[in-house]
């Protein structure tokens, strides 16, 4: 994959250093993350265990009753390979209690609710163990908006948000993520047999090839077509990127004063650190 292939040693150093530095400078030693059994959270666990030490990493697997049992098995496999703290917290009682009140909710609402339920559990455990919540969204899904706002997209810091899914696969190989986890089809695991690529209508590898040229290289639509991309595919992906931009921004604030947060009151988050 031209342009997407990375020097994994260097990438690993930068990402491990990022987690170590950005967690420690807050005066915290620990990290908290949700371990779904999928590759993204597995890779973040590998990066964070190296950065913080396995004893300082707290992983939570939070299955719903329709989740594939293989997911929990894979999460456990990752946790055991790394020697990190691991706990399974079922979200079925909370989710079912809520949807008993609104039984007509569709799959999307149910999936979003589950993602947000998991987020509240992670933030509660963040307070309980004194650790920062680590994000596990990669660049491909962040750009496509394939995630739940305030759900799986919520975190204190995200080591893999600037690397594409193809690069997640590559780095996972290099860092020794178990093969079972690398090779299986990516899935949000909301219902049996669901896969991301089926739902998106294209493969991650196809999307990455396009996004890399569109976003990183800023190639124009004409240049992308000349490079062999299908016009409809380009437009579909471009629409997804634009349509989901709100998910990547903080809420907008109505400006009335001379100094509005983020607009003309500008400080880095690492202010004083």
């Amino acid at each position: 994959m031209a342009g997407l292939t990375v020097n994994t040693n260097l990438l690993r150093r930068i990402l491990v250093g990022f987690v170590r530095d950005e967690v420690h400078k807050v005066g915290v030693k620990k990290g908290v993350l949700g371990l779904s059994g999928g590759i993204d959270s597995a890779l973040v666990a590998y990066i964070a265990a190296e950065a913080l030490g396995p004893e300082n990493l707290y992983a939570y697997c939070m299955p719903y009753r329709t989740s594939n049992p293989e997911s929990e098995a894979h999460a456990r496999l990752v946790a055991e390979s790394l020697g990190i703290n691991f706990k399974v917290i079922e979200i079925t009682p909370m989710i079912d209690a809520y949807f008993d009140l609104v039984p007509d909710a569709d799959n999307m609402r149910r999936g979003n609710k589950m993602a947000r339920e998991r987020m509240t559990i992670l933030y509660d455990h963040s307070a309980a163990v004194g650790g920062l919540v680590l994000g596990t969204s990669n660049k491909t899904e962040l750009l496509l908006g394939y995630g739940t706002l305030h759900g799986d997209m919520a975190s204190a810091l995200n080591p893999i948000g600037d690397i594409y899914k193809s690069q997640v696969w590559e780095l996972s190989e290099a860092m020794g993520v178990p093969h079972e986890v690398i090779e299986k089809k990516p899935s949000a695991d909301l219902w049996a047999g669901q896969t991301d690529e089926q739902e998106l209508g294209f493969t991650y590898r196809e999307a990455d090839q396009l996004l890399y040229r569109m976003v990183d290289q800023r190639m124009s639509r004409e240049e992308l077509i000349a490079a062999g991309f299908d016009a409809q595919f380009i437009d579909n992906v471009a629409r997804k990127v634009q349509g989901s931009h709100f998910k990547r921004r903080l809420p907008i604030i109505a400006k009335v004063s001379n100094r509005t947060i983020d607009r003309d009151f500008r400080y880095a988050r690492d202010w004083g650190k």
Partner: protein
């Protein structure tokens, strides 16, 4: 004259003047203890880089107690260090000060404030207006701050002004992870420093910081480059380091004998043509 330069590849804390002063003073003492004659720090070493609205809050005037303390230390070792300078008319500059023998020998205010990609310097800071070489006990020196070096004219002017040593203070964000061995930004800088040294028959001391600010890494890799363009010493990538480089004074003389490009450089033609270009642009 042979001498030793220390490149203090530090990790400043964003907006924490006191902590960064302590870091700088510790590095200066370390340099003195190691027998270094000159210690070079990164750009904005006393403040951190992505300051945004913090700029006025961390700015120092040249008569501030911090600069006075550094002045005092410069009785024992020469110092080049980056900070935010506030002028008497309340402009804020991304500046570098060179201190020697208890005196300020030179202040360079960054001319090229990048405002593209991840950079936004000119929103917060005022632009410097000059490139001037100055005399030190190591001969004539010119200082550049990071982006300045990417403008061919800047090191050229300093070299024409007699500088034989170029000091570049930098806070270069690491980016461009690809298939290749190093970072894209590091590879580009390494080409630049080495080529500049070679073109101008100057030695180059490049000091870059490390650490992360809001997820952005600074890659370090500070280096001392001989006038032939060879890297004699290089700091660690992405980690704090303290590079002690022994500078062979004779190398400069020998290089200027082998490759007398600066001797042959024709200032009159350059000035004439630049004036013509400038005039034609006005039309």
């Amino acid at each position: 004259m042979d001498f030793t330069v220390a490149l203090a590849q530090i990790k400043p804390k964003l907006g924490c003047l006191d902590d960064n002063m302590a870091l700088a003073e510790a590095a200066i003492e370390k340099g003195i203890a190691a027998g270094a004659d000159l210690v070079v720090f990164p750009e904005l070493a006393l403040t951190g880089y992505f300051l945004k609205d913090l700029v006025p809050e961390v700015a120092l005037s040249l008569d501030s107690p911090q600069i006075q303390r550094l002045k005092k230390l410069s009785e024992r070792i020469s110092i080049a260090i980056g900070f935010v300078e506030v002028s008497s008319d309340f402009r804020f500059f991304n500046s570098a000060v060179y201190l020697e023998a208890g005196e300020i020998r030179h202040v360079h205010r960054k001319v090229y404030l990048p405002t593209y990609g991840l950079f936004d310097e000119q929103r917060y800071m005022a632009r410097g207006e000059r490139f001037r070489a100055f005399d030190t006990r190591f001969g004539r020196v010119g200082m550049l701050i990071c982006e300045d070096m990417w403008h061919l004219s800047a090191p050229y002017i300093l070299a024409m002004d007699g500088a034989m040593t170029l000091i570049c203070l930098s806070s270069s964000p690491g980016r461009g992870v690809s298939e290749s061995e190093g970072l894209g930004s590091a590879a580009a800088w390494q080409k630049l420093t080495s080529t500049s040294a070679m073109f101008l028959n100057c030695r180059v001391f490049y000091c870059n910081r490390v650490g992360y600010e809001d997820g952005i890494n600074f890659w370090g890799g500070s280096e001392a480059i001989s006038p032939s363009g060879e890297v004699t010493d290089r700091g660690a990538l992405l980690e704090e380091d303290f590079v002690l480089a022994k500078v062979d004074g004779g190398a400069l003389r020998r290089e200027r004998i082998f490759s007398p490009m600066m001797r042959d450089e024709n200032l009159a033609i350059t000035v004439k043509e630049l004036k013509r270009i400038d005039k034609e642009k006005d039309c």
